[in-house]
């Protein structure tokens, strides 16, 4: 085998220019896939962090059973009573992997500036507990403040946050007063005074003229209830999501509580849609790169076969079997794949270092401030790209190599 590898390396060196072009195509393809993959990974990580920590949704959410089905039509039928909430919270907190369990109540109604009213939907949360969840964020979220104004407070019930679109629609600004109106759980009309403590960017454009954040007490007062519609569970580590979920489901069932527990992925449609879109683009780029690599390898090996037809004839005459001829060209092609991937890795690393030094910034969708544009080095993508490109290089050589191996020896020896 060493002889064949030696012949392969020397033949590649003999045709340096052609080999360099092919290695260049492979390495550029490798870098393109890994830089884009690294960028999407950065996006996914930050979207995930944003949903779990930034928006205070945690890793798991406990609902009353049926909330995700029938509950969407009539959520008030699926509220968790105060006693149940305490039981669930107490049980969850027994698990050392659970960092925080906080109740939430989503409400909707009309928000008025005294002259004009518009629909709102709001998350009623315990501000101090949400701040704790926010504080667990890493990276961008921990370094930046994503709202204008001041924080909401547990004991200042009337202090609320408005999405910028909603504030604009009603002509409200920081410290402006407003009135929130809604039917209570009993069906009576209720109204509460509110003061705009903060303005924020909505995570979804369609909600920008509707979204509010209110303290849990405000939501419960407006609905005239002590119940909540969900409990947000924050874990110490992502890797515990499945096991904690299973533990909680089993434990709460044993306590006679009919609940359903959803993972953050199931609740974040924006994350899912964004990931699906970028995954599709990633596959598209991967396919294009692979086609370029395959074409480039086939071209290189076909030219090598054509130029070395007489050599193939000589080797066959000397007693080299057909499969060995295929191996010979496959080795050359595999070497191109290995060298191209190694250079691609170095190129990826160089671009990554360049980004670390240059520190470019950008404004992602739904965020108003500039944040660093990063590209992560993803070992999984690097290993996968390496293996795929090397295997692909070998496979791509098979067709021209097979043609060479099955050529008549007499014709091969007579080839000019």
């Amino acid at each position: 085998m060493i002889t064949w590898i030696k012949i392969g390396i020397r033949n590649l060196y003999k045709n340096k220019r052609r080999s360099l072009f092919t290695i260049g195509a492979i390495s550029l393809g490798f870098a393109a896939v890994n830089i884009f993959g690294g960028f999407t990974n950065y996006m996914y990580t930050n979207l995930k962090q944003s949903f779990i920590y930034g928006q205070g949704n945690g890793h798991l959410t406990v609902f009353k059973k049926g909330f995700s089905g029938e509950g969407k039509i009539d959520p008030l039928k699926y509220l968790i009573a105060e006693a149940e909430m305490k039981t669930i919270r107490g049980f969850c907190m027994k698990d050392s992997r659970v960092l925080m369990v906080t109740p939430q109540l989503r409400i909707s109604g009309l928000l008025s500036n005294g002259e004009v009213s518009t629909i709102f939907i709001a998350g009623g949360r315990v501000p101090s507990e949400i701040r704790f969840i926010n504080s667990q964020a890493k990276g961008l979220l921990s370094e930046n403040k994503f709202f204008e104004g001041k924080q909401l407070e547990d004991n200042i019930t009337y202090g609320v946050g408005l999405s910028k679109g909603l504030a604009k629609k009603l002509g409200l600004s920081l410290n402006s007063g407003a009135i929130a109106m809604s039917p209570t759980v009993e069906g009576l009309l209720n109204a509460l005074d509110a003061q705009v403590f903060q303005l924020f960017d909505s995570p979804a454009e369609t909600l920008d003229d509707k979204l509010m954040i209110v303290p849990l007490k405000f939501a419960q007062l407006l609905y005239d209830t002590s119940s909540v519609d969900r409990l947000t569970v924050l874990l110490d580590d992502d890797k515990h999501i499945e096991s904690v979920k299973a533990f909680l489901e089993q434990g709460l069932k044993q306590k006679g509580l009919a609940v359903e527990i959803k993972q953050w992925r199931e609740l974040s449609s924006f994350y899912k849609k964004t990931k699906d879109m970028f995954d599709t683009i990633f596959i598209f780029i991967f396919v294009i790169v692979f086609i370029i690599v395959v074409m480039s390898i086939i071209n290189t090996i076909s030219m090598a076969v054509m130029e070395r037809t007489r050599e193939v004839g000589t080797l066959r005459t000397l007693g080299v079997k057909r499969k060995r001829i295929i191996e010979l060209f496959a080795i050359e092609s595999g070497l191109l794949g290995i060298m191209g991937s190694i250079i691609g890795m170095l190129l990826t690393l160089a671009i990554w270092i360049g980004i670390q030094i240059w520190e470019p910034t950008w404004i992602p969708p739904h965020i108003t401030i500039r944040v660093p544009l990063e590209v992560y080095l993803v070992p999984g993508y690097i290993i996968l790209s390496f293996l795929c490109l090397v295997v692909l290089s070998v496979v791509a050589a098979a067709f021209p190599a097979r043609k060479a191996a099955h050529m008549s020896i007499v014709d091969a020896l007579g080839h000019v």
Binding site: T3, R316, T317, G319, R322, L413
Partner: protein, 225 residues
């Protein structure tokens, strides 16, 4: 060879390269096949060397009916029992003289250390041990042909088939190469079968087989000189 026929097709044209050849070559012979271009010399050598197959007839090599062998079996038999010398030397351009000579045994999977030693001995015998590290393009025609002969002999084959081995050599080199082959033939009993036009070589063989239009028109033994 018994009643061997070989026909080539060029489009719709049928070319009968060999027409019912009967031929026996014994151990230790030093034979030349000669005749005008297109007479079938190369085809005859290709069939004997198992790089081509006849349309009909039978070819026995060391008692084996080669027509019955698979491609793999023929390839192995070629490697083990036949050495090839080409008019244009056909050395691997990316290998040194030593590596070229080592190649047939490496194909067989013989350990490198043994192969290297054997190749060095042969190159020494052929007087080109000083050029072992040279790539073919750095060697003269005569040196290249010596390397090709060394490559053909390293497997200690029963038969060496040489296609116009002296055609690309000057008189001095041609004479030296012929002497060398005759020496090996007489020392080791290796059969040499030449396809040639070269009178310098024809004058030195023991047996001349003349072909014309795919038929043996003359087969004569010459006195050993």
């Amino acid at each position: 060879m018994e009643e061997v026929h070989k026909t080539y097709y060029l489009g719709e044209t049928q070319i009968e390269a060999l027409c019912g050849i009967d031929l026996t070559i014994e151990k230790g012979e030093f034979v030349a096949v000669w005749g005008p271009s297109g007479s079938g010399k190369s085809t005859l050598c290709n069939l004997i060397g198992m790089v081509d197959s006849p349309n009909s007839g039978n070819i026995l090599f060391q008692g084996q009916e080669i027509i019955l062998l698979s491609d793999e079996e023929r390839t192995e038999l070629r490697n083990k029992s036949i050495g090839f010398i080409f008019q244009t030397f056909n050395l691997m351009p990316v290998l040194s003289a030593l590596e070229n000579v080592m190649l047939p045994l490496q194909i067989r999977g013989v350990p490198s250390k043994i192969v290297r030693e054997k190749a060095m001995n042969i190159l020494d015998e052929l007087g080109i041990v000083d050029y072992i590290a040279h790539r073919p393009h750095k060697l003269s025609g005569g040196q290249q042909q010596r390397v090709a002969i060394a490559r053909a002999l390293i497997t200690e084959p029963a038969l060496v088939i040489a296609d116009e081995p002296t055609a690309n050599l000057d008189s001095d080199n041609a004479r030296k190469i012929i002497d060398l082959m005759r020496k090996i033939n007489s020392l080791k009993g290796t059969i040499f079968l030449f396809s040639t036009h070269d009178q310098r070589l024809l004058d030195r063989v023991h047996r001349q087989i003349q072909l014309e239009d795919g038929v043996i028109v003359d087969d004569k033994l010459r006195e050993k000189s």
